[in-house]
Symmetry: C2
Subunit: 466 residues, 2 copies
């Protein structure tokens, strides 16, 4: 619950400084200025753009829309018109907590200066993880983070016939669709046993099977692939694997995950969590007074296991940015944590998940029981019936639901979201069995796949307690 | 939790008799036979068909599929092949609890007989409510309950140019779409102030406005309409209102709601609830030992208010039938209640709701606070963006969410279902604000409308507690 403690902080001299402004930073700046119109709110960012939808980049590359500027949620002028000062192409190089100051470097002029803060928010985000591969510097090798990255990849794609994608996670699969829809032949290289590692292996292999069955003429997927060298003189011509196998290509995108940007925080004595991301309390405060952190650079609490976890997602960054702003401005607000709910698509297949995967749950000591249901997504006599494959995991001891994954041409995402609000309150299998979902023939089957899965789990759990 | 107490009931002489077999009865019969393969399971039904999807009838009438038999989930032969005895066109005319017998009348031969039961399930369902209107007996006036009704309405529709629908609830709107898609001009007459009465008036008027704005050339909606007479000699030619206004028509369907079939139960001394439907406990047991009831003839407990309510829905009937079967067969199972979650569509507009409406909540003594959010259903730069209008109601004292309604061309149904699992655990506004939903540009906005609504409610509630 929020309580406005106005007297403490409504100080016209208040200066809120925010480092980084993609999602968490941009949200925090706008919210802070709304809460305390007289405060000085200043943003520093290394990047050119602020407040953009990085999640939309693959769809821009695919050609779902033409103007990359559509990804900009709010421009620098939008912020400035609200009285927020924005310094783009400015890098904060040091934080001095004892003096409540930061050192800033103007990346264009090279000028350096020191400035003060009353409240500081670190929203430095995450950067693509770059595996140690030979010849990384040649042309035609990309990562995807900024709008410029998106424009560069799209331009290269439009003149290419072949591409290699390194990494079969969300962004990897989104680019796979984008490249395929633009006529390229693609090889997807995944260093792990299976793609889509946030899904259980059985679900991930169904995803692979779907892609290869329907688009195997254009797409090749190689798992357990270790890339050792990029080939080519000036520009990339191929990728070499550890087994000496070589794949010819005109471009490569490295989508091998991301890593939190924490060096600035760590150098200032800010504590990191066991995941390596910045540790904050539920009010987004670090171990140092008046220094907050939010977004992809921050460790989160998983609401199911109540353990720290680093799952960087735009939707979370947004909420954390808001929570940080409320607390910096003197309101008490708590961010309770995350489930790791996420969704993407490949062509007509939706892939959606929430909570813990089997592997993570087992590593945390849960005794995992699971049920998989394959079902139509609406009444069988209706036109355009899709299918949903749903897997739900529960804990044998507490009967609590631990997580779920759903894929299919039907509304797989609805099932995951339906479960998610129950999960934040520790829903059991028996409670899910009593869930009251909507039913009409164009929208679902009279018994939803979630209920079917709950019944299977209920039977599995009751037979073992007798 | 279920515990199989096998010793008590696995009696080969056990005879389970079920009256009615559309949803609850059919489910109970199949489940009972699976649980106790040696038991005698007998179904009596007045109707010709059993186990059919009544909810699919409007889509059959519309022409979404051609063969009405597709609505039959399981045929009588399917049941008989599992060893379940089915007596269709047989009416149970009396229950004799003291002797554990029933009197049955064969509607074809006229023969009457008495038979015994060990466990009896009343699943007599509901029938259309017929308002007291003059000339009800002339031809061309329909109600929609059975597959034959559906076939008759479709045939009449195919040779008609004009239709009048009495009642603007779910079935009324589904038939409105069906008739319009088949080229008819339709007048929808609603006796209340607004159509779709399970929605709040503000949401219902948005539904009306959408229909009239887009299809006003084919559809007329008259609210507060009191029909006093059907006009015509042998066949209907018009409908006369209390204000003497007359509407010409070639057919009329009465969709003025339904009423539970309870006469058989009442005559046997079975207690009815305050709603007029049969009162059962959470194990679907009536006040008389060994007599259970399930489905549309039964009163339910609303999980939000914990008060009895009669909301007949196929999805609920299915669950109650299963619960009744488990208990009749000696397993302990509890059905916790309902939220009244429901969905339908009119053309590209989805209408979905769960929990209490404002009117019902206020009548139960809640101090209702609400928030309405209108938002795109996915990132604005994506193709085929729809919209969602979402209204959430909360209780000012407890901050608990009481219900929600959502309409729009976007995925309004996902939002309602997402909320529904939270509602069964008494989710507060603050908890919804922390919900972790999936986000990707093709599926949602980075801040879901549910979160926006939660934030508005949170602000409204916090400003009033200070």
């Amino acid at each position: 619950m929020e309580f406005i403690i106005v007297s403490l902080v409504q100080n016209i001299d208040m200066k809120i400084v925010i480092i980084g402004a993609v999602a968490a930073g941009a949200k925090a700046a706008a919210k802070s200025k709304r809460l305390l119109p007289d405060a000085e709110v200043v943003i520093y960012t290394k990047e050119e753009n602020i407040s953009y939808s990085a999640c939309g980049l693959p769809y821009y590359i695919e050609g779902n829309f033409e103007d990359a500027d559509k990804l900009i949620v709010r421009t620098i002028s939008d912020f400035e018109s609200k009285g927020i000062k924005v310094f783009n192409k400015h890098e904060v190089t040091a934080i001095h907590p004892d003096k409540k100051e930061i050192t800033v470097s103007n990346l264009v002029s090279g000028e350096k200066f020191v400035t003060s803060y009353d409240k500081l928010l670190i929203a430095t985000g995450a950067v693509p993880y770059i595996p140690d591969i030979k010849n990384r510097e040649i042309k035609g090798i990309y990562t995807l983070k900024t709008i410029d990255d998106g424009i560069n990849i799209r331009n290269r794609m439009l003149s290419s016939k072949r591409a290699v994608i390194l990494g079969g996670g969300y962004i990897g699969l989104e680019l796979l669709e984008a490249f395929m829809q633009n006529g390229l032949s693609i090889t997807l290289l995944e260093r792990n046993h299976s793609i889509m590692n946030s899904f259980d292996e059985d679900m991930a292999s169904l995803i692979s099977a779907y892609i290869l069955k329907n688009y195997g003429d254009k797409i090749n997927i190689i798992t357990s692939a270790e890339v050792v060298e990029f080939l080519g003189e000036e520009s990339i011509t191929g990728v070499k694997l550890a087994n000496s196998h070589t794949i010819n290509t005109e471009m490569t995108v490295i989508c091998s995950g991301v890593t939190p940007v924490v060096n600035l925080a760590r150098d200032a004595g800010i504590e990191l969590g066991q995941s390596g991301a910045i540790k904050v309390n539920s009010r987004m405060l670090t171990n140092i007074p008046d220094i907050y952190a939010a977004g992809d650079c921050v460790e989160k609490i998983n609401m199911i296991s109540d353990t720290p976890m680093w799952i960087p997602l735009g939707s979370t960054a947004n909420k954390e940015g808001r929570c940080a702003a409320l607390n910096m401005c003197g309101t008490v607000d708590d961010f309770e944590g995350i489930l790791g709910s996420a969704v993407t698509r490949f062509m007509d297949m939706t892939m959606s998940r929430t909570g813990l995967s089997s592997k993570v749950a087992e590593s945390l000591g849960y005794d995992v029981v699971s049920a998989i249901v394959t079902k139509r997504d609406k009444a069988g006599y209706m036109p355009a019936v899709g299918y949903v494959i749903l897997k739900i995991l529960a804990d044998r001891r507490s009967h609590k639901i631990l997580g779920a994954q759903s894929i299919g041409s039907g509304d797989a995402d609805k099932r995951i979201n339906t479960l998610s609000t129950g999960l934040i309150r520790g829903m059991t299998v028996e409670e899910l069995n009593d869930a009251d979902m909507t039913y009409a023939p164009p929208y679902s089957t009279s018994i939803d796949p979630l209920i079917d899965a709950a019944r299977i789990l209920k039977d599995k759990l009751s037979c073992c307690t007798n």
